[in-house]
């Protein structure tokens, strides 16, 4: 392990600041042939719900210029199966951060309570999944609703609670401040941007769900700008993500004020990309003659509220 990459984030010891984003990396096991899972800071598992979900019908994925759209619709085996069959298999191999999605405030609380078990490193609240009609998007765009979800989760678990911010809002800082106030231990951003594609031959939307979430390099400048702004608005730490596909991308997010980063879509393009990014950050740190990558956090952001870090 490389000591320049080690960090403790929300009390979780991490071998590197490189995590994998929910929904793009399964439960980690799927990538075992390509990734040394112990080198990752952690994996954020697929959005987990109280009941199993089969997700959306029809086409679920399409490629767009330097990005992709997805409308998986939160397909997952449900929290009970996750706890009984999946968590025991993976918990000793990596930091497991469970991404949860509820259809009501109470359900977030219930999920948080059920996941307050050994082997779960933290809970990430997905209030911004654009593909669920029952209200995911309402929690993600209304500061009061997002705060209520944070309260419910915090009241039911001792695990660190991360709130995942949606970029589909007018003022992301307003949301960030609200959830910080409500007691969130960290924020992660960004989730996908809502988009669509039309098949001109069939004259129909391509995706089964009509709209889907845009991710990949195309969203990186937007994500980076939002991380930069949120880093000036709140004091809780930030998990930066959105289009990270290279060492340089990851470094930009750290310099903007993210304490750790997560890689999503780029895992599809190159399943080894997280290892390359770990190596690349370590090489950059050495080249810059620093002791730890942590010396980079927020260094390109004059208004960074956690300037006393390191």
């Amino acid at each position: 392990m490389d000591s320049t990459l080690e960090t403790t984030f929300l009390g979780i010891k991490m071998a590197s600041p490189v995590l994998t984003a929910s929904g793009t990396f399964g439960f980690g096991e799927e990538f075992r042939d390509f990734v040394d899972l112990s080198r990752l800071g952690g994996i954020m598992v697929k959005g987990t719900t109280r009941q199993p979900r089969r997700g959306n019908d029809g086409v679920r994925i399409t490629e767009t210029p330097m990005g992709m759209l997805n409308c998986i619709g939160l397909e997952n085996p449900g929290v009970e199966y996750f706890l009984s069959d999946i968590l025991p298999r993976i918990k000793d191999e990596m930091n497991v951060i469970v991404n949860i999605s509820g259809s009501s405030v109470e359900e977030y609380g219930e999920l948080a309570a059920m996941l307050d078990v050994p082997g779960v490193a933290a809970i990430e609240l997905n209030v911004s999944c654009p593909n669920v009609k029952e209200g995911g998007i309402v929690f993600g765009t209304d500061p009061a609703a997002a705060s209520a979800v944070v309260h419910a989760a915090k009241a039911n678990t001792k695990k660190p609670v991360i709130l995942k911010l949606s970029p589909n809002v007018t003022d992301i800082c307003l949301m960030a401040r609200a959830v910080e106030e409500a007691g969130a231990d960290a924020v992660s951003l960004i989730n996908t941007l809502i988009g669509m594609e039309i098949d001109i031959e069939r004259r129909r939307p391509v995706l089964g769900n009509v709209t889907g979430g845009l991710s990949g390099p195309a969203v990186k400048p937007v994500a980076l700008r939002m991380v930069y702004q949120v880093a000036r608005a709140v004091k809780i730490p930030i998990i930066g993500m959105g289009g990270i596909a290279s060492t340089e991308d990851a470094l930009e997010f750290l310099l903007a004020g993210a304490e750790v980063v997560a890689v999503g879509t780029a895992n599809f393009t190159d399943p080894e990309v997280t290892m390359k990014i770990c190596d690349g950050i370590a090489a950059y740190v050495r080249r810059q003659k620093l002791r730890s990558y942590r010396e980079l956090i927020g260094k390109a952001n004059d208004g960074f509220l956690r300037g006393d870090l390191v």
Binding site: T24, D33, R54, T62, T269
Partner: protein, 256 residues
């Protein structure tokens, strides 16, 4: 059959490319590790490096030459990705992720292969693996049947052809000839790959005749590794991923 093979990432040099019919190409690349590991019915996810691609393109393996380390594909130009593939020249590099998926069961004594269009490509690898024990029934557009027929000649024992316009073989769909072939042919399996409606119709006839049937499905894929659930489908045993649990399924598990 669960997929347990180790998956590999391999930079592969293009050895050559050949146009087989309008918009249909044969592509051979040097990928010795994947050539050694690939089994009939498996596919690779191709990362096209000559252009800005975020997703890989899944393509079935038509042949794997272990001795020379060559993996080959036959594909039809559909959109942006396959258009870029058609421009590849000897010496260019693509990156392969594979072999992926479970592949066909190879245990039958006298299978009937049924295929349409590019579905015949993975079936060719299967036919070669069956070493003359398989017959083939192919259906589709006329010009293409000519090269498929010459490919399968010498690999499959008997070749039956149907075309939409009757220009080659019997006029009509494969379902025209299938009932008679199954009644008279003593086949112990039907192995089919093609458009979904064709596979459904073939599976229904096979079921009626009591012949076990394997189908190979095509769905849009993200990761190719079973992580992203883009290619998730309903089966008789619940949700399954085409990229990892398939692409080959017993027909009764997916058409029910």
């Amino acid at each position: 059959m669960p997929d347990s093979t180790q998956k590999l990432l391999e930079d592969a040099k293009v050895k050559g490319q050949q146009r087989l019919a309008e918009g249909v190409y044969y592509l051979a690349v040097h990928a010795p590790k994947i050539a050694a590991a690939a089994r009939p019915g498996q596919f690779v996810d191709i990362r096209i490096l000559t252009g800005a691609f975020i997703l890989r393109r899944p393509v079935g393996v038509v042949a794997a030459d272990r001795e020379n380390g060559i993996v080959a594909f036959i594909y039809r130009v559909i959109g942006r990705g396959t258009r870029a593939m058609a421009k590849l020249k000897a010496g260019d590099t693509v990156n392969l992720l594979g072999p992926l998926g479970n592949g066909f069961s190879m245990e039958h004594k006298h299978p009937l292969i049924v295929g349409g269009g590019m579905g015949l490509s993975p079936l060719f690898f299967y036919a070669a693996g069956m070493k003359g024990k398989a017959d083939v029934l192919m259906g589709g557009r006329s010009e293409e049947e000519v090269f498929w027929r010459s490919l399968f000649a010498g690999i499959a024992k008997n070749i039956h052809i149907t075309t939409d316009d009757g220009s080659v073989g019997t006029k009509g769909f494969v379902t025209e000839l299938l009932p008679k072939l199954l009644s008279e042919g003593s086949y112990d399996a039907v192995v089919v790959c093609g458009p979904d409606p064709m596979m459904k119709a073939v599976a229904a006839i096979a079921k009626e005749k009591g012949t076990p049937c394997q189908v190979s499905l095509e769905r849009r894929m993200g990761c190719g590794l079973g992580a992203c659930l883009s290619c998730s489908i309903d089966t008789a045993h619940g949700r399954r991923k085409v990229c990892k649990d398939g692409p080959v399924f017993p027909a009764e598990e997916v058409f029910f």
